[in-house]
């Protein structure tokens, strides 16, 4: 699984990054996590609000930090 976190270095974005890493570890999922800071790449997903979460090329979250449960569902559904 390929997880991308879209963010330009704001506190919320770091928070999401942290949350994703803990959740992935907890669930024992095999995933590569990358931080995307380049605005061109962020825009390529059409996202206008940060932070964003992209799983396997699909935008799942934009403009908010999901709750731990919501995130588990998103990752688990794969």
């Amino acid at each position: 699984m390929n997880i991308e976190i879209l963010g330009m270095g704001c506190a919320k974005c770091h928070k999401l990054d942290e949350l994703v890493r803990t959740t992935v570890r907890e669930m024992g999922v095999d995933a590569s996590i990358t931080n995307v800071q380049d605005v061109k790449k962020i825009m390529a997903y059409g996202v206008m609000t940060l932070p964003g979460l992209v799983i396997d090329g699909k935008v799942k979250i934009a403009g908010k930090i999901p709750s731990a449960n919501e995130l588990k569902n998103l990752i688990g559904r794969k």
Partner: protein, 350 residues
């Protein structure tokens, strides 16, 4: 409306059970109606304070205003949180596409008030707007209105100075956003946007939209309350305490000579001082309270507040990545001029 970004509570707000909403509301209303009696009882019967003395009045003011304003704040933030859940920058962009200049400015300013986004999203938002062909002037109307008209400021003005002041603030703020954006649009400043912005090809936004239930919206309102009120309550308490304290100890017309009506230059000066200063709306109100209390003119005080919360250095630094310095300077000057005009008009009317 623009959040000062970096709230991190969102994911962690406890779940709100919507069924406790109605009893909570009832209890709130009852408490609100008996508040004055409760405070009077506390002061005169329980604490046995002397009626009419400065100290008693100060304590009474504090005990009465703090719960009143905090309750107002919670209700309004809750309602705004629910309203905001109906909007998103993506929808706003769609609504603004292809709108002619003036209509576009009006719509963008209005949508700027209710569209939720945070400072760190300013760049993707700006690019997203420009990329989908929304005129620069319309985009700026949005960017001006978002921080300028702030629900916390609105509540506090309403609670502390009455509905007229609150309404004047909201309507003139809106007017400044509309006109500033329109002026920037007429000036044809597109060449001051960084070239690479125009080269970006934004992808189609496609997120699997989950059905948003009414419960989700209630939850959004609740999250907003936890998020905002936990950040600003302390400023409000300090502000009301300061307001209560200056009742007795600072001479009544202390500020009148330098910020009063007769000193016309106080308006530009207030804006000049206010632009580089940056504070959230809750932090600025206590200052406003103290200024007005001591004879500063309303227009001057409002101009000061608007320039502090409407034009912020952090936002400019972020925008500097996508627009060139001359446009930033023009942007600041146009908005600052608008604020000054509002200040003058207020001082003239009142």
């Amino acid at each position: 409306m623009m959040n000062n970004c970096c709230a991190d509570k969102e994911g962690n707000a406890p779940k709100f059970k919507s069924y406790i909403l109605i009893p909570l509301l009832l209890a709130g209303i009852i408490f609100y109606f008996y508040l004055e009696d409760i405070v009077n009882f506390l002061i005169y019967s329980l604490m046995n304070l002397e009626q009419g003395s400065h100290l008693t009045e100060a304590i009474r003011f504090f005990l009465y205003d703090t719960p009143k304003v905090l309750m107002l704040l919670v209700s309004i933030v809750f309602i705004v949180g629910i309203i905001r859940s109906y909007f998103s920058p993506e929808k706003t962009r769609k609504a603004l596409e292809g709108k002619p200049l003036f209509i576009g400015n009006i719509m963008a300013s209005t949508l700027g008030i209710v569209t939720p986004f945070c400072t760190c999203s300013a760049i993707p938002l700006f690019i997203g707007f420009v990329e989908s062909g929304i005129p620069l002037g319309v985009t700026f109307s949005f960017l001006v209105a978002a921080p300028m008209i702030n629900e916390v400021a609105l509540v506090l003005l309403f609670g502390l100075f009455g509905w007229k002041t609150a309404l004047l603030y909201a309507s003139t703020g809106l007017l400044i956003a509309i006109v500033s954006g329109w002026v920037i649009g007429r000036l044809k400043l597109e060449h001051f946007v960084e070239e690479w912005v125009y080269e970006i090809k934004a992808g189609d936004f496609q997120m699997e939209e989950r059905k948003v239930t009414f419960n989700d919206r209630i939850q959004a309102g609740y999250t907003a309350v936890v998020d905002i009120v936990s950040k600003v309550w302390i400023y409000i308490v300090i502000g009301i305490a300061a307001g209560a304290a200056v009742h007795g100890y600072v001479p009544e017309n202390f500020m009148a000579s330098i910020m009063g009506k007769s000193a016309w230059w106080s308006v530009p000066l207030a804006v000049l001082i206010g632009v580089p200063l940056y504070s959230n709306a809750a932090g600025i109100i206590p200052i406003l309270q103290a200024l007005l209390e001591k004879g500063a003119a309303l227009g001057t005080a409002l101009a000061f507040m608007m320039s502090v919360i409407g034009l912020s250095l952090p936002e400019m630094i972020i925008l500097k990545k996508v627009i060139k310095l001359p446009l930033i300077i023009i942007f600041i000057s146009v908005v600052a001029t608008g604020i000054m005009i509002v200040g003058f008009i207020f001082n003239w009317i009142y």
